[in-house]
Amino acid sequence: MSTAIAHALNEGLRSVMEEDDKVLLIGEDIGRLGGVFRVTDGLQKDFGEQRVVDAPLGEAGIVGSAIGLAMAGYRPVCEIQFDGFVFPAMNQIITQLAKYRHRSEGRVSLPVVIRIPVGGGIGAIEHHSESPEAYFAHTAGLRVVSPSSAQEAYDLIRASVRSDDPVVFLEPKHNYWLKGEIDRSAAPAPIGTAKVVRPGDDLTLVTYGALVPTAVKVAAAAAEDGRSVEVIDLRSLSPIDDATIFASVERTGRLVVAHEASQTAGLGSEIVARVQDELFYSLEAPAIRVTGYDTPYPPSRLEGDWLPGLDRILDAIDRSFTY
């Protein structure tokens, strides 16, 4: 039986809540409503209002109180309702959550997970389609992860809740209803590693989240042109699993990185900068970024064109092969 990403998250949360009664959830509308995307559906009914907390409407309060709960021995999982609404919590995330282990010289762990539905392409109004990952990836002390399939969702949410580091957990909302099989018995990969989703020899295509299925389609299309594209799902956006990326590009000699977030100071630039430094002599073409443009997210009537998609990624691949 195949499971949607949103349900896989729900199942994953349920399972860690069953295993560890210190796990609790805090967020706006996550209780009776089950969250606007229903990721927490039924959990308040089964675990009660003390463990699935309908928060007052304040994101600083959500993350700040989660920090306090973690200090008191709990493992809180916060939900931020949409990408664009995480910013009121930025002070707690950047000055407190990310830095507390360091401040306390390793004495205090803050195992807080911050779940955020991210990304565009759903025809939404402003603030509901953004990709804020770079803000978090630039902040040392946070782990940033994003699943791309039901299996990854199930594994990663469980691993994130178990992590002793704070984890920003980015859910590709465009693909919440994408289904896949889940193996619930397999030992999940440790948090922090990338995954080769489709092997290939001629070019490495790195992406994450909602763009992973697109990247697989890109690879299939490129294969028709006789180009063998290796697709890597970052999974961990910070820290970045250099080893997997380097090993691939060393073989292929070509790199394209794709994400929805704006280009400037985005993750694509980071990966490109790392690769060109490590593999200067291996690269046969410049490493190319295919990203959202350096504008605010446009009105939804324009998002189809604004977002990086199949064609732009394929064109980048073509361009790579012109070198």
Partner: protein, 358 residues
Amino acid sequence: MTDDLFSLLSPDGVLSDAANASVDLRGMFSDMVMSRRVDTEAIALQRQGELGLWPSMLGQEAAQVGAGRALNPRDVAFPTYREHGVAWCRGVDPVSLLGLFRGTTLGGWDPTANNFNLYTLVIGAQTLHAVGYAMGIVRDGDVGTGDPERDRAVLVFLGDGALSEGETNEAFVWAAAQNLPIVFFCQNNQWAISAPYSVQSRVPVAQRAQGFGFRGVRVDGNDVVASHAVTVEALEQARAGNGPTLIEAFTYRRNPHTTSDDDGRYREGAMTDDWTTLDPIERLRTYLTTIGTDEDFFAEVASQETELSERLRAGCRALPDPEPASSFLHTYAEMPADLERQMNDHLEYVAAGEADPA
């Protein structure tokens, strides 16, 4: 929680003697009916797939029209995303309210044309903009002069949920400490999406103001006459230099949060039904009928409604798609070179018709 509500027009349509005799009740009635019609049509357009989403104001017409009509033209309003009735009173073309929800724009109107700012979707953020604007009024010297052509104030809208955001409370701090010409108009519709007001607070909204040292007033938000009266008074105080007021208009969100919401998951229909019997329009209709208002008046309003409906339906479909270049053009006052390069790339894609993502 309803004991201490100021009211002038009772639920069964009886007008208190204390009501200001010169108030334009017909105008209020018409505004409420017309803005409800905007709401109803928008919901229909959403069902037909013409809008992605619509946040309904059903049940909140009295609060909004009462407040909206209290504004002078020079006063400035800062709405949330639900103030369709205030927009109506300010003279904003209701068709332009639809663009944001159709995805053709993130704004849709010129905020300076009617002194009605853009909708703000980030809860509470507009309260600080309103504070800043009020600071501007003070610096312009347009407060407390006694000259009715000069004194101005700001009216900022917020929901009950917004009371929990830090920014809203900072707005209270600034407004109080600087005694600004600002009125906070909170429609306590008792819900923030699925969260009943009890999630936010155990005491009435208006009480919050006391803690910051300014006036808080509770009014029956389904009573347009009372909502209007308290807002007129609060705005006068503000313009006169007597500082801020927090108005709590106690009302009820009768529809789901937006057309995407499923309120059956978190509330019983019964309470919504109760509030339906407290309908603000019916209340005023009863009163107007009681005092023998001509049938022609109601017929005239009805015909304006029909006209409006048609205009909305046609206008919505005619809303132009934004230019592909528009986001690039409006990010900076002058376009940076790299962004221009990005724009040109983008326009080439669009021209080639191959930009749609997989």
